[in-house]
Amino acid sequence: MISEVLLWNAIIGGVVFGAVYALIGCSLNVLAGVLRVINFAHGEFVIAGSFFSYALLNSFDIHPLVALPICAAAFFFAGIGLYYLLVPRLAHSDEPETASFLLMFGVSLMAVSVITWIFEADIRPMNFSFEPINVTLFKIPDAYGPGRDGRVLVPTARLVALVVNLGLIAALTWFFYRTLPGKALRATTMNREAVQIVGINIHRLSAMAFGLATALAGITGVLLALVVPSIDPNGGPDIALVGFIVIVLGGLGHPVGALFAGIIFGFVEQFSNLLLPQAAAQMVGFIILVAVIFVRPEGLFGKGQLK
């Protein structure tokens, strides 16, 4: 019998991590949909965001929450620079998707090298603090026997990260569904040729999309550093894999799909950690990935055809 407290912890963990995964999925989706770029280096961009926050904290004593907008702006412009450096060359390829995969794999390898060169290969702790350290969400009376109440705690940093995260997702959804530039980005996913027919400069729009996705990756990194206050320079591939599971699950190019898929994956991960042996728990995500590809290749929320 699993204690009620652990169950609640898994639920809260599922939401907190799920929201981070959703954000990773959203930004991968922007790239896949608008640019047809499969960003293998996304995990490294996220890690770079974490280290960006780490460096600001250690060198200038800037709190991660303050670092968030700085990181977003820096990564946005870095992303635009990277776009003009890399992506237009992909257009000369007969298979831009495959070429992008290889290209971004190369970028990912270089990014890891640069990160370990600057920060060395050790896992770094993030030394920031919130007052209070934990927030008691509620008490469960007699959870550990008569008179011994259980408390469901969540670290304040995680709670803050969750709130910021959900706010961002709401803002993104508003941007994609309510503003003309957002609709133009979605339109690019639907019909690339027609976007140019209506006179939209596809290169400028794509550069914006790349900047946006990179900024989101940086923000994700800062939030991840709040959720798990230790940064592993080699953690990129794991993050990218979670991102790929999320976009396959949610439907490629479907912004809202990524949100639900992220939360679903967060729950699945937390509950399999709770209920299954550790070795088995790590497989569950990939079992879902394979199952979705077999049963519903367009994703849970996708309705179109997957190329």
Binding site: R186, N191, E193, I197, V198, I200
Partner: protein, 261 residues
Amino acid sequence: MARKQKKKTPNGKWEQARTILEMRDVHAAYHGDISILNGLSIAVNENCITGIIGPNGAGKSTALKTMYGFLHPSKGTIALDGRDISNLPPYDMMANGIAFVPQNRSLFNDLSVEDNLRLGCWQFRSDRRKVTRELEKVYGQFPILKEKRSDLAGSLSGGQQRFVELGRALVVEPKIIMLDEPTAMIAPKISREIYDFIATLPGQGITVVLVDQNVRQCVNVSDYIYILDLGRNRGEGTAATFAHDEHLKEMVADWLDYQID
């Protein structure tokens, strides 16, 4: 027969109009290898309807795509009002007063009809008053679209989708509109509506370039017709010339399986 009488054949109209868009000896290829246009020359006169016909694979659609910048000529020039536009990208064409409705569907299916039209107004999106005015104009021309403004574009019938595409091309008040098979796969009744609409465009100061498989319709509505084959010019003339020139008549009958009388 009734349609023939309705048709205006202002013979002098084409000759008197000035050339606004001109393709001269254009060669173009996809991905640098498969050559589609092999020295094509087309002149488009202002406020006229220029028809382009020819058998399948003649390069009609490619000619339009090249004019619109999706392909760039490897040889030859495309001039708008005497200015070379051969190397402009497609997204700069609207700003130069050229609109394009391609053969394959060009709507954003998961956006509403109104959003599709609003994206058509991208060039002047910050001018809200103008956007509203242009949308009202489109709704006036195609009342059904006003009714369906909130529906997803992909849920509309083929004919209605064509209306959205035409409306979206016209919101920028283009000088020239290029139409690629505007009535392909569309019910005959709607086709007629679309042709009647196209015929009104020159009167509104809009020059039309029309590519069509439907030779009869194309010849009926056009002021001047080009016949293409294998990416080259094979014949040209006004509708009246076609009716008298035995050589042209024969060519059309042979290749296009259509009798001009």
